[in-house]
């Protein structure tokens, strides 16, 4: 299967006065289309930084990142924004919904930036909310939803523009085990439908249960790579 994400000697350094923080320090990784990958490692090992680089939220200090064969380090700001909007769906530990907007409006927002017309945005948002079993919470504001419900809205939002890649940074980190499993169930479902998923987690059981490959980070480097229980990554469209 074709390589979707390719990291070549990627480094991200932060310069704090005299000190240099090597948040990511030379990572080489290839991720194929449809893979479910987990990233593990101690706090401060560079997991989030690496995710943000892949998600083109941040630019690497050195090295190259190819998405679908294109070097994102060479793109302009507006192209990167387009890329994030179209090809990537972010899911965060803190849900990161916009508090002034209802569940439905939160899901409509990414489509607004892709200039989808209002009617299609509404239809799609409703469809996605139904998909994450929140059809009865369309007009609720984030503060009227439980953590698990907010994360499901965030998942629906990540899917709004039907991206190829879902980047989930500790998606169950703020949830109890039971709601965490519910959220994982949705990720699993979308993976089966062909999405490529990269997930940061602290929970080795989750990583093993859902991912085919687990990268272990330490001090910004890949310490080891292990296999999860999942053997085959499903093909797209199944």
């Amino acid at each position: 299967m074709k390589t979707l994400i390719d990291l070549k000697k990627v480094m991200k350094y932060y310069y704090m006065g005299e000190e240099v923080v090597k948040a990511v320090d030379g990572i080489d990784v290839s991720i194929r289309e449809g893979e479910f990958v987990a990233i593990m490692g101690p706090s401060g090992s560079g997991k989030s930084t690496a995710m943000n680089l892949v998600g083109s939220l941040d630019l690497a200090t050195k090295g190259a990142i190819y998405l679908d064969g294109e070097n994102i380090e060479q793109m302009e700001e507006s192209e990167l924004a387009q890329l994030r909007g179209k090809k990537i769906g972010f899911i965060f530990q803190q849900f990161n919904l916009i508090p002034n907007l209802t569940a439905k409006e939160n899901i409509m927002l990414p489509m607004l930036f892709q200039e989808v017309n209002l009617e299609d945005r509404e239809d799609r948002a409703e469809e996605l909310l139904n998909l994450v079993d929140l059809g009865d919470r369309m007009d609720h504001y984030p503060n009227q939803l439980s953590g698990g419900q907010q994360q499901r809205v965030a998942i629906a939002r990540a899917l709004a523009n039907n991206p190829d890649i879902i980047l989930a940074d500790e998606p169950t980190g703020n949830l109890d085990t039971k709601t965490g499993e519910l959220v994982m169930g949705f990720l699993e479902k979308f993976h089966k439908e062909g999405k490529t998923i990269i997930m940061v987690t602290h929970d080795p059981n989750l990583a093993k249960a859902y991912a085919s490959t687990i990268y272990w980070l330490k001090d910004g480097k890949i310490e080891k790579t292990t296999k999860g229980k999942v053997k085959n990554n499903k093909k797209r469209g199944m």
Binding site: L57, S78, Q82, R84, F90, N96, N100, L109, P110
Partner: protein, 405 residues
Amino acid sequence: MISDYFSLAFRNLKKRGIRSWLTLLGIFIGVAAVVSLISLGNGLQLAVNSQFGVSSTEIISVQAGGLNAYGPPGSAVSDPLTIDDVEAINKLSVVDRAIRRNIPSGKLEFNNKVIFGFAMSIPSGEDRKFTYEELDAESIKGRLLGESDNGNVVLGYNFYANKVGLEKSVDLGDTVKVNDKQFKVVGITKKKGSFIFDNIVHMNDEPLKDLMGYGDDVDLIAVKVKNKDLMDKAKKDIEDLLRKRRNVDKGEEDFEVSTPEAAMETVNSVLNGVKAFVALIALISVLVGALGIVNTMTTSVLERRKEIGIMKAIGAKNSDIFMQFLIEAGLLGLIGGFIGAVFGTLIGILGIIGINNFIGSSASVNIDFVLIFLTLTGSFLVGATAGLIPAMRAAKQNPVEALRG
């Protein structure tokens, strides 16, 4: 797309605290001042112009005292003009005709009520015609005074409209007592919207002189100049003449010679002064308001860093964020401007009604929609301009740092 930004901006504004709305006070006051000033100003100008009933621009008026060229001349003039002055002015080569006018105050009795007001002397012969022309006097009931009307009076419109305090309207054929002598009302003058001419009593010169005893003293001399172009020369000649006759030096005149133009200029310059003052206040208010918007928008950008990060993560371009904040700032201005325009228009309307009631003028109230549209557009632009730098800052946020909050 743009409409989506507007609705998003509205959503965000709705969640704003009282502090944001207070910053709109500046824009509000500025716009209210401008709108009320302009709608009031037009009316005010009309009212003032109609007060003095200046119809013919070829008339120069001469008064002793030199304090106030208009309004009934005061009785406290120590050295009044006399009939000899009128004769002397009449002999000037640039003068076509000079006539005396007396405007004495007295009491009028009707319906068992007594009021105090002014009467105006109407001269005889050619001067009568000239006076009526000059004052643009017309009757709406009955007629104006003629030579044989020594026992009769013509009253200003407000007597008929029951606006002079007699608690009953005076009509043709009624009898009124002026300084205890009876006169028959033979005419009512057309409404002029002037508190002088609508409240005055016309009386022929002879009976008025007998009644008031002003003798050869003259309150005002109305001078018709031979030719419009000679106005300035006539003014100068009259001044020279009176200086000589009254034995005063230049710059120390105890009389005033005023052309209608000059009078209007005085009135206009006062009005313009008021306008400039209000405009200055408006300008300062708008500036303060704009600074307020800069301030709230800057705060808002800081407070909503995380939101900016989220929007960027889900595909917002810098330009999207920029537009979002710019429109929000513009809307802030627009809302301030809208409330200001509504208030300003109300003040304008109430002001005109007040002026009309107070001085009996008839300036009309008209809402200037072009003006309102322009001020609203202006308010939006002021807001957007104030939001320019905060919006740029918002757009330039690094998404990762912004997400961290």
